[in-house]
């Protein structure tokens, strides 16, 4: 937001369209990352691998065994040649062929087992990471979701985690295997001839220099690609959900163009990566050949001077060829590693987002409200000094029905969010039975309330799922009891499958009225201490409206309730009406009292509830 403000102060700096484009982008685009240390990322990733360490160790044990089988096969071949083919002795050749077959089967089995164990370990580690990210998202404050489009978060949960897959499964094992091979060969080379070894190692600084150079290039290219794919995802997601509007306003072409732009940017970022990858790969290949050429040239000169024997040189060249096999392999894995690190950065950044509502260290349990809820001089702002509530005080006694009324922006919805501790206040106290809400267990606190929002959000599943929200403690009896009070049963009569009737995404296949009654039933079935209702203004016919009104009254009769009321009848039945004006409590009292007082409430009622 501060970026936007800065742009507003400099209207001349950019054209209108450009400024708007920037603003849009800042919502879809992500912040550039600060410096991230790979070691930390690797350490954290290792944390996910640790529970499956034994599987990895198993792989590490199986790998050399399989390799041994592979190495054993040429030996058998040699045996066949020396003992049978040269002396032209066919007897016993069958045994060798048999032994060869056995090593094949063993190799096959070992490699299979190794691959499977590796996958099992890697996939499980990824599953854990995915669940952790999901769980973390569940804990984040609502305001986080206002800032981050769903599509972007989805990219974290799917694409980013999947890009770690190869690094965690095949990558890690081969890297370890390669490193072991490499160190063995280095030792052999040094023992054979340290002079020649040093000549060979002369290329190592070149290789390291190249990889170091490519590291930052590749990393930023990978980051770029990740950001773009997340943006592509978010754009697509929004377009799919708003496709009806896009079509109605003949916006298809323009939407496609927007999508195309991001798609192009993503492609270009990916193409930059291809370039770096190709150059690095080819470079390592080239260096290995040149190193051998250099060795031959230098070595031949040395043999002439008799510093090394020719036999040593010949053997040496063959070893040097083997020396470059793991190096080539590692440079390939290096790309994989960069990709994995770019994803981990994003994932751990998300996991480190601490926009959570903190729970007190020794939070108190609470099961029900004993006496009252009290707002005591509550000050609250979503950001900085933009005060939404300015010193709000009122009480809700147990069993009372309290109505909140006031203009849009008076702070009604905010009060509801504060009751369930979606946000923490800056000043004052919100007390339940005399104890600050911040001292209760968050989960317990929220369980006290059941909230019916204006927007009746339904999940894919059945009607029953949407009522119970798959919470086990909500029994069939609860559901039926709640449905009876609300009058959902009458509506469900239309469906043969009743509670098992399927609900499509967002409840698209149900009418607005049905959706509302389902959310009512949901709220009651969870047997809350306090019912919170953000009354949706009528968008249903008189009959359904009557049904909803009846339901509302029936619900409220059952228990303590707080209602953002729009219907006069609802307000009239309230025990207390809290009239809010610009973030302050203007009046409190019953309908009759307030009408008689002839204050703000009186005007409000006259304005909103009487036809002119």
């Amino acid at each position: 937001m501060s970026d936007d403000a800065r742009q507003d102060q400099q209207p001349d700096a950019k054209g209108d369209d450009a400024a708007r484009e920037d603003k849009r982008a800042s919502f879809h685009e992500e912040k550039r990352l600060g410096k991230v240390v790979d070691r930390d990322l690797v350490r954290r990733l290792a944390g996910y691998v640790r529970p499956y360490l034994w599987l990895f160790i198993g792989c590490l044990v199986l790998l050399p065994m399989a390799s041994a089988m592979t190495l054993f096969q040429p030996h058998l071949l040699q045996l066949a040649i020396d003992d049978h083919l040269i002396p032209k002795q066919l007897d016993g050749l069958g045994w060798i062929v048999g032994a060869f077959a056995v090593t094949l089967v063993l190799e096959y089995g070992l490699r299979f087992a190794q691959f499977y164990l590796m996958q099992l370990a890697g996939q499980q580690a990824l599953r854990d990471l995915r669940c952790d990210v999901f769980d973390h998202l569940q804990r984040l404050r609502l305001s986080f979701f206002h800032k981050n489009p769903v599509g972007r978060l989805m990219t974290r949960l799917t694409t980013d985690i999947d890009s770690l897959q190869e690094a965690l499964s095949s990558g890690m094992i081969t890297i370890i295997g390669d490193l072991i091979t490499l160190s063995v060969i280095v030792v052999i080379l040094l023992v054979k001839s340290w002079q020649l070894a040093l000549v060979t190692f002369a290329v190592v600084p070149i290789l390291l220099g190249a990889t170091f150079l490519f590291r930052s290039l590749m990393r930023s290219a990978y980051r770029e690609a990740r950001v773009k794919i997340a943006r592509l995802n978010a754009n697509l997601q929004e377009a799919v959900t708003g496709m009806g509007i896009i079509q109605l306003f003949a916006h298809e072409e323009r939407s496609l163009r927007e999508y195309d732009t991001i798609n192009q940017e993503h492609r270009d970022a990916a193409i930059a990566l291809i370039r770096y990858d190709a150059i690095l790969y080819a470079f390592v290949e080239m260096i290995s050949s040149i190193a051998i050429a250099g060795l031959i040239w230098y070595g031949a000169g040395q043999t002439v001077q008799d510093v090394v024997t020719l036999g040593v040189l010949v053997a040496f060249i063959e070893y040097v060829e083997k020396f470059f096999v793991p190096i080539r392999d590692l440079s390939q894995k290096y790309t994989l590693f960069q990709s994995a690190m770019a994803s981990s950065e994003r994932l751990f950044q998300l996991l480190d987002t601490d926009e959570v509502i903190e729970e007190a260290p020794e939070a108190l349990p609470i099961e029900a409200i004993g006496e009252r809820i009290e707002f005591r001089d509550v000050w609250f702002a979503y950001n900085d000094d933009n005060w939404i509530l300015r010193g709000v005080s009122f009480t809700i006694e147990r069993g009372q029905k309290v109505a909140l009324v006031g203009h849009t922006g008076a702070g009604k919805t905010t009060i509801i969010s504060l009751l369930t501790r979606m946000y923490d206040i800056q000043q004052g106290e919100i007390l339940i039975d005399g104890v600050d809400v911040r001292r209760y267990r968050l989960h317990d606190l929220r369980k006290l309330f059941a909230v019916v929002l204006q927007d009746s959000f339904l999940f894919t599943g059945t009607i029953r799922d949407n009522i119970t929200l798959r919470v086990d403690s909500v029994t069939d009896a609860d559901v039926e009891h709640a449905a009876e009070i609300v009058g959902l049963g009458r509506l469900l009569g239309r469906y043969e499958d009743s509670y098992a009737h399927p609900v499509k995404e967002r409840g698209n296949n149900l009418s607005v009225g049905e959706r509302q009654l389902v959310t009512f039933t949901r709220a009651l079935a969870h047997r809350p201490s306090v019912l919170i209702l953000d009354e949706a203004t009528a968008n249903v016919d008189t009959e359904t409206e009557a049904l909803i009104q009846e339901a509302t009254e029936a619900m409220m009769a059952e228990q303590t309730s707080v209602v953002i009321a729009h219907r006069l009848s609802t307000i009239q039945k309230a025990d207390a009406i809290v009239v809010l004006h610009k973030g302050q409590v203007a009046e409190v009292g019953s309908h009759q009292e307030l009408i008689e007082r002839g204050g703000l409430y009186h005007t409000l009622v006259k304005l909103q509830y009487t036809a002119p």
């Binding site: 603003k23 919502f27 071949l77 083919l85 032209k88 060798i96 060869f100 096959y108 299979f112 691959f115 995915r130 999901f134 979701f145 206002h146 989805m154 799917t158 995802n233 697509l236 997601q237 799919v240 959900t241 009806g244 509007i245 079509q247 109605l248 003949a250 323009r254 496609l256 999508y259 798609n263 291809i274 290949e285 050429a293 250099g294 040239w297 031949a300 002439v304 036999g311 060829e321 933009n386 849009t408 369930t420 929220r446 309330f449 059941a450 909230v451 929002l453 204006q454 999940f459 929200l469 919470v471 086990d472 009418s511 203004t537 009528a538 009959e543 359904t544 009848s569 909103q608 036809a611």
Partner: protein, 619 residues
């Protein structure tokens, strides 16, 4: 949740139309792949020279040593120089080959994603009602990714494998054609087993992809419904459910790993089995002196080198099957024909918008609409809405009001009957023409995550853009942004937004109240200066006074054009020309407000009921 009917069962061979589509993608970027292949062959040819030069040099040194003579230093230097040159050349060719081939893959990915998006914009409301957003997104992102790998890495491996096979088989044939044939004897059997592997890979990959879609859909819903998740404190349940889905994905992945794990060593062993045959059969050939020992050793070396391309072949098959599984899932989307589409090219009729007299007559002729689940929404509706009139459509929930007005901009097509605008059947108009004439504010307001202003200008921006591409200059608009904002009753709200009209509204307009969202959608529809304005219950969250003011303004600016209001509130309806009452998908009454009241029918009863309720409220 992924639609199970979209998952083909046990089928892995790909149909011709699919192959043609794939071939078309290849053809589009054929130069990338062909030039890349040429460079790839060049890389292989150049790179293969290096080992023989090294081998030759070593041989020379060895010969020199055994002969006790000094090595020819000039020859060695020449060889060294050649190696360096070849290495540099191979590196250049390698870089170019990878860039060409992999870029081709990225281009395919780019084009495919655009194709899907373009196709999605053509699919009608009913399609979106039965598809999960997460699933569609997952297909466009993840499945396309696998097709990209099929084109990029897949073709690289195919060329490499083919080149390697060609070279090695030639060398083997030179040594002993007989032994070559023998060592290739088990290949037919391998191919049969490979088909089994391929089939298993395909079906299991499809399952993995479906599970990934499932995870996506679930997470997408959870994140969109976060306010409910939090308010009911169901995080533990949500997490458990997500873990279940993740476990299912893990299981699917592991069942795929079973096949992949078995396949790779299997492919590796093919080469080794070749060695086994050479050992057994070739050995006896040596003993029988049909081939020399040297030839035998050389031949074994070739067989060993065959192992790598065979393994790579396994990779190709795995990539291919995965790519095809993804491609198939994409084709399910791409092959869904939009049922609401433009008339055939050249047969489209024009809509006379600028002629004299009122415009926007809408006629429903014997229109019926039955939904996929069998519900009859409209039942033989015959109705003409006069050009230039303002009508209200009322009726109970489920009476068919929204369904009726959704037919006009062709969000749906009727199952039977015809809808005409100014006498032209709307199926004979292009969608652009038809929708360009209509301003529509839907029942559930949907806003895009951009500024308020851009949301209001949404339709106008599109219109300007398409006019610009056609090189047209549109005459000045009838309505300014300020007018639209004022008429929609937003003027008083604007100062309350932190940055006025430039305020970002968040995803789906999350930061606005229900009423504000509705009024923004009304302003959006108005700004198009439409011939037909449809407000589908979009004043529901607006209070009665504002509603009346909006309707007053509307009747002024919509003079000579048609307005349709779907509504549940009757107290402002004396302002409209005609009220149409729907019941169970049929028109049961129509006429001016007062007339209908006088008749004392269904409408009069509904109005009376509402009046009584309001009175009750105010007493």
């Amino acid at each position: 949740m992924s639609d199970p009917s979209n998952q083909p069962k046990g089928r892995y061979l790909v149909s011709w139309p699919r192959m043609k589509r794939l071939a078309a993608l290849f053809w589009m970027f054929r130069w990338n792949f062909l030039i890349g292949a040429v460079f790839l062959v060049a890389t292989n040819v150049l790179a293969l020279q290096i080992p023989s030069l090294i081998g030759g040099t070593i041989q020379h040194l060895r010969d020199a040593e055994s002969a006790g003579a000094a090595a020819n230093f000039d020859l060695i230097q020449g060889n060294v120089l050649w190696i360096v040159l070849l290495a540099v050349g191979a590196a250049g060719a390698r870089i170019l080959s990878r860039i060409f081939v992999f870029n081709g893959g990225r281009q395919v990915e780019y084009v495919l994603r655009n194709q899907i998006f373009a196709h999605l914009t053509r699919l009608e409301t009913a399609f979106y009602e039965r598809s999960a957003t997460g699933d569609l997104v997952s297909r466009t992102i993840n499945d396309v990714n696998y097709v990209r790998v099929l084109f990029g890495l897949g073709s690289l491996h195919i060329v490499n494998t083919a080149v390697a096979y060609l070279i090695i088989l030639t060398l083997m044939m030179q040594v002993s054609p007989k032994l070559t044939l023998w060592s290739l004897a088990p290949y037919p059997l391998f191919l049969i087993v490979m088909r089994l592997f391929a089939r298993a890979l395909y079906t299991r990959t499809q399952r993995v992809q479906a599970q990934l879609s499932d995870i996506s859909s679930q997470a997408q819903e959870n994140l969109s419904g976060m306010s409910v998740v939090k308010a009911f404190a169901i995080q533990p349940e949500a997490s458990a459910q997500f873990r279940e889905a993740s476990d299912a994905y893990l299981d699917a992945n592991m069942s795929l790993a079973l096949v992949r794990g078995a396949m790779l060593p299997y492919m590796g062993s093919i080469g080794a089995i070749g060695t086994l045959i050479v050992l057994g059969f070739g050995g006896s050939l040596v003993v029988e002196a049909e081939i020399t020992l040297g030839e035998f050793v050389e031949f074994s070396a070739y067989i060993v080198r065959l192992a790598w391309p065979t393994m790579a072949l396994g990779w190709v098959i795995a990539l291919w099957q995965r790519g095809m599984a993804g491609f198939d899932r994409l084709c399910h989307v791409l092959d869904t024909e939009p049922s609401v589409a433009d008339p055939p090219l050249g047969r489209a009729r024009a809509l006379e918008l600028d002629g004299p007299g009122p415009r926007g007559e809408i006629a429903f002729e014997d229109v019926s609409l039955t939904y996929e689940d069998g519900t009859v929404a409209l039942d033989r509706v015959n109705l003409t809405i006069a050009a230039g009139s303002t009508v209200a459509i009322v009726g109970r929930t489920g009476a068919g009001k929204s369904s009726l007005v959704q037919l006009v901009p062709r969000l749906r097509d009727p199952s039977e009957g015809t809808v005409r605008v100014d006498g032209v059947p709307i199926q004979e108009l292009t969608l652009d023409t038809l929708r360009g004439a209509i301003g529509y504010a839907p029942q559930t307001p949907f806003l895009f995550s951009t500024t308020i202003e851009e949301n209001i200008r949404f339709g106008l921006l599109a219109r300007e853009a398409s006019a610009a591409t056609r090189g047209e200059q549109r005459a000045g608009e009838g309505l300014s942004l300020e007018d639209a904002v004022r008429i929609a009753g937003l003027t008083d709200d604007i100062p309350a937004f932190p940055q006025g009209l430039e305020t970002m509204v968040g995803e789906r307009g999350i930061t606005l109240s229900g009423g504000q969202k509705q009024r923004v959608t009304i302003a959006r529809a108005l700004l198009l200066d439409p011939t037909i304005l449809i407000l589908d219950d979009s004043l529901a969250s607006v209070d009665t006074r504002t509603e009346r003011r909006i309707l007053d303004e509307l009747s002024r600016i919509m003079r000579g054009r048609t307005s349709i209001l779907v509504t549940h509130r009757f107290n402002a309806l004396e302002l409209v020309d005609e009220v149409i009452v729907l019941e169970d998908g049929r028109v049961v009454e129509r006429g001016p407000h007062r007339e209908l009241i006088g008749e004392g029918g269904v409408y009069a009863e509904m109005v009376e009921r509402q009046r009584l309720e309001e009175e009750l409220n105010q007493s």
